[in-house]
Point group: C2
Chain length 310, copies 2
Amino acid sequence: MKKYCFGIDVGGTTVKCGLFQVDGVLMDKWEIPTRTENQGEEILPDIAKAILEKLQEKGIQKEEVAGIGVGVPGPVNSEGDVLCAVNLFWGYKKVSKELGEMTGIPVKAENDANVAALGEAWRGAAAGAQNVVMVTLGTGVGGGIIVNEQILSGAHGASGEIGHINVDHEETESCNCGNQGCLEQMASATGVVRLAKKALDCSDAPSVLREGELTAKAVFDAYKAGDKLAEEVVEKFGDYLGGALASVTCVIDPSVIVVGGGVSKAGQPLIDCVTKYYKKYAFSACKATPIILAALGNDAGIYGAAKMVI
Amino acid sequence: MKKYCFGIDVGGTTVKCGLFQVDGVLMDKWEIPTRTENQGEEILPDIAKAILEKLQEKGIQKEEVAGIGVGVPGPVNSEGDVLCAVNLFWGYKKVSKELGEMTGIPVKAENDANVAALGEAWRGAAAGAQNVVMVTLGTGVGGGIIVNEQILSGAHGASGEIGHINVDHEETESCNCGNQGCLEQMASATGVVRLAKKALDCSDAPSVLREGELTAKAVFDAYKAGDKLAEEVVEKFGDYLGGALASVTCVIDPSVIVVGGGVSKAGQPLIDCVTKYYKKYAFSACKATPIILAALGNDAGIYGAAKMVI
């Protein structure tokens, strides 16, 4: 009888670990450091050790564990092999196979943005929804697509790469991916700062953004305080992101869109601005699709990872 | 033992009917007229009659029939109810329920663009592919998304509405859907004519398009013959469609994109032009995703409809 499972979220600094009952109750949650030295060769042994020690601590037999789900910051193929994970200093790595051999427990690995989307769809802001789009506004813009309560990985593990939808054919600066005009260049934390710099350079209007450090948080704080130039920047951000989400819903028509990541901490004013532009561009049948804030924060990954093996 | 099934494709002029073995072999194919008088109230009884007569003709018992799949030109919900089908003069109609009662055979109804996509994914140009995007360039621009060999319908039956992706935020003319700048305004048969008219109005350059009737076929014929103005129009068409398909693959990352519908009869030169722009805008992992011509023509609907009940 399988009673338990593990949800593991591997980040560049820490590995977040969760022990769950298969009914979804989180029993224990802890972190271990991500040791990236020597091409990150200690990361999987460290995770295996953490899991085996937790089993001993709780008096759980391996036979009672349904599996280990793992979210990894990089593209993952259908065999659970990571193609590369820059932040972990990994090249090609057979995560499912290696961690499975180290623990003697079945392992399922997936891209971390997809796993976070599954977490929000299972126990978070979109709990109970069958089809969900999640967009994560962090250093970059990530995304995950849930169809019939399952992660949609795609033919090249690139499903949900919402950050690389072209939103500006006139853009001349390049995105990290090599293209020009990606959503990530406009709606990530660095993208918002880039938009703000452009606006400051193009105008002499007074703005609190001309003082102090220019960050995405500073832009949204100024927006909430009524700063005119910040308003211009956030409206542009909303136009780009709302427009891209409208394209996304023409493709997969989800029941809900979840917005997470560091930038989303700006909260409801951000959602309201994005929703305004979303409604402008969205197909009639999808205009009322709700756009909501993520609810699980940093725990989305461990929840989604656990759900993969339940 | 279920040995047979029917695939029915309801169009505004004719209903295409197919009798299949459940292994996918098309045994018989015929058409009946679509009687749209009196709010199309005879359409379903006509289909029921055609099916029951075919069973008698072939000596097949109802018990041997797995089901009837039906493609309908309008949005269809998960119960198989059509919300409206303008070309059939239908309002809300419980197609699955009504046709099921008339025939005594289980019925599954779906939107016709989705059904055609399933047909191409099953027995057509994309045979064997798990995840497929099909775009149909006809009077409008339709689309269908196949995920894990199943139609993706979406929360409001609007999945695959690729024609209503916004591709031009500057457009001021309205699409039939009420928005401005939809792909359908650029890449449908009427869209191509619209682009050509604009190009003719904005220039004094000589062109064969200044003589005779201006149709999408005339534009592509002139393009193949080296007409400079037609080239400008087709490049613009390719930019819009290639760009939209690049956005689509950022969302669902299919293994193949199929292009069908009347406009696609322009053939490989059209595909080559669209592919050029697709590669320009697509995310790196998806740049090599093949864009190919549909193979089943008018039979895609009956194949896809049959597959729904196999």
